[in-house]
Symmetry: C2
Subunit: 341 residues, 2 copies
DNA sequence: CTGTTAGCGCTTTCAT
DNA sequence: ATGAAAGCGCTAACAG
């Protein structure tokens, strides 16, 4: 109970093959310095005994402490954005024989630290982090300890590492401009908590987009900290009760856009009020009207982050870079409705 | 380059605190047998030096070889079903201090073996597997080696382990009966590859549902091996060209249902041909008509699988159980359209 | 209550 | 080309 049967070790193979453990180690690791005949024989014994190297023991002993594993700390693994990112990283890691640990942070800085620690204790070679709090300095120890770190989705604070983000501000500005091009002058912004860096960037993009279109910024059209379908519903109701209500909406996040689709539907205004969402979602093209979105590209973000990470793990020493992955405006219908009055 | 700076070890703490390594080990692991004053002092030094235990070394030495990690082998981490399952498992693992390794199999039995091996080499305490091939006997070694294994989504072959599945057949039968109740007698079935066990079960459910409704089984209404939107489109066209075409469709999988929604839309038949999908999806309620589905419950499957896994890891020795998680028919509109002729 | 010693499975270092 | 010995950081087993 609780005890595990002893598995075949290098030593077992060595004894059986009549060679030293070092020779077996050489064969298993494909190192030079073993006569072909010996190599073949050892390989046969390895196969026959079903020997499997113990990665933990290997990591412990090696000078570089490599474990052939990396960890991902994302917002929520069940969320399509995180899931696509994870999958993209996995696809880069697999061919290298590197396994992936994954965890959800749920915007909790405490959990960020705890999990970074837990993964650090397991000597992962690298960490891909979507920062949850506004201070990542707790990672300094890991970094000086030799763990490669790359941030995604949001710029980190307190550490200087490679970072891959979407062009949030520009993307939202595009969306705003698109609505303005369709004649809207009253464009509302519904965004996430201002404590979230990307939410701030998107708000900046909103301002910039308005400015670019020569429209004034009206704080009454801005609702922030929207974190549930109910909050969306309330916010929308309040906006529509304004003396000069918006004729177009910009949903600056996944779930907010979804909430807006539902809320507009409920008020039967979905064909009268224009909507542009930030972040694409499945079936956006099948709704009526189909939803125009500013799409992020989580797969490219993940792939890029993984590439940068493996560069670092491979010993790259340049100054940390920030890569911006462009968003793309996908025109589908909801963002092209004309102003309704 | 490649070398990692030495981290603080138990020994460092022991030297600094003026005690033996064993005493530090006791404090770190919360074992009894340390005087309160000593304990406090050691804890302070641990904190001051920023000591972090090395889980790899601990695993290597412990008799039970526990690593406080488990692995998930799922079909595709980017797919909402797998993602929800992963998240549910993570939520059970986290409070136990157990980290989660995850990988996608993409229906590839070779990858199943390779990844099971890779995780075995890292001495995970448990494995949650959504079987990709039709032979899981390669896991016998892991199991006798003490790794707990639980299968999800599909029953495994060649090993006898705890398994958590949806009531696939019953779920599809429910869907068929629902359509029959609404007057349909010509109900088509579009399913995945017959080599996939769940696809077979769902087909069985289709037959059973027809039988239950007193309807004949017409092979011309059955299309299997549908693996892309184009295939769906073609299949639908062929079905509608029959002398006596179906008035209702059952999409026996995620992507097939999505494809059917698109294809019907393209033919402008979405309000004339009834549709029931297997597997729920986001915004199914916002389409028009909203899509009636037989929903699986990946979160419950994941949670249950994780519970069973930790029972085993904890030493449970009963005969392996199979838990069936019920599906739920969600009535939304598309499945209640009357026969169109 | 506390410490000493051995050794997990492997790679490193150095010898042959 | 091969091997012997040391030791990675930790816990087990046993002494005191």
């Amino acid at each position: 109970m609780g005890d595990r049967r002893r598995r075949t070790t290098l030593r077992d193979v060595a004894t059986e093959a009549g060679v030293s453990v070092k020779t077996v180690s050489r064969v298993v690791n494909g190192e030079a310095g073993v006569a072909p005949a010996v190599r073949a024989h050892v390989a046969a014994v390895v196969e026959q005994l079903g020997y499997r190297p113990d990665v933990g023991a290997r990591t412990l002993r090696r000078n570089d402490r490599r474990s052939a594993s990396i960890a991902l700390l994302l917002e929520d693994l069940a969320n399509p954005y995180s899931a696509a990112l994870l999958r993209a990283v996995e696809d880069v890691a697999r061919p290298r024989g590197v396994v992936v640990l994954a965890a959800s942070l749920d915007e909790d800085p405490v959990r960020e630290r705890a999990l970074a620690r837990a993964f650090g204790s397991r000597s992962v070679d690298g960490l891909v982090l979507a920062p949850a709090g506004d201070d990542q300095s707790h990672l300094v120890e890991e970094i000086t300890g030799g763990t490669a770190v790359v941030c995604v989705d949001r710029a980190p604070a307190g550490i200087d590492v490679d970072t891959v983000v979407s062009t949030d501000a520009a993307g939202v500005a595009d969306g705003v401009r698109h609505l303005a091009d369709h004649g809207h002058t009253r464009i509302a912004f519904l965004g996430d908590l201002a404590t979230i860096a990307t939410a701030r960037l998107r708000h900046d993009g909103y301002r910039a987009g308005l400015a670019g279109a020569g429209l004034p910024y009206d704080p009454r059209l801005v609702v922030r900290g929207v974190r549930s379908d109910e909050a969306v519903q309330e916010a929308l109701t309040a906006l529509l009760a304004l003396p000069d209500p918006p004729t177009a909406l910009l949903g600056a996040q996944n779930l907010i856009t979804a909430g807006l689709v539902r809320a507009l539907r409920r008020l039967d205004l979905h064909h009268r009020i224009a909507l542009v969402g930030y972040d694409d979602f499945l079936f956006a093209d099948l709704l009526s009207p189909a939803v125009t979105v500013v799409a992020q590209d989580p797969a490219t973000i993940g792939r890029t982050a993984a590439d940068l990470l493996f560069d670092r793990i491979g010993g790259a020493r340049e100054a940390p870079r920030t890569v911006e992955v462009p968003t793309r405006l996908i025109v589908r219908g909801s963002g092209e409705l004309p102003p309704d009055r």
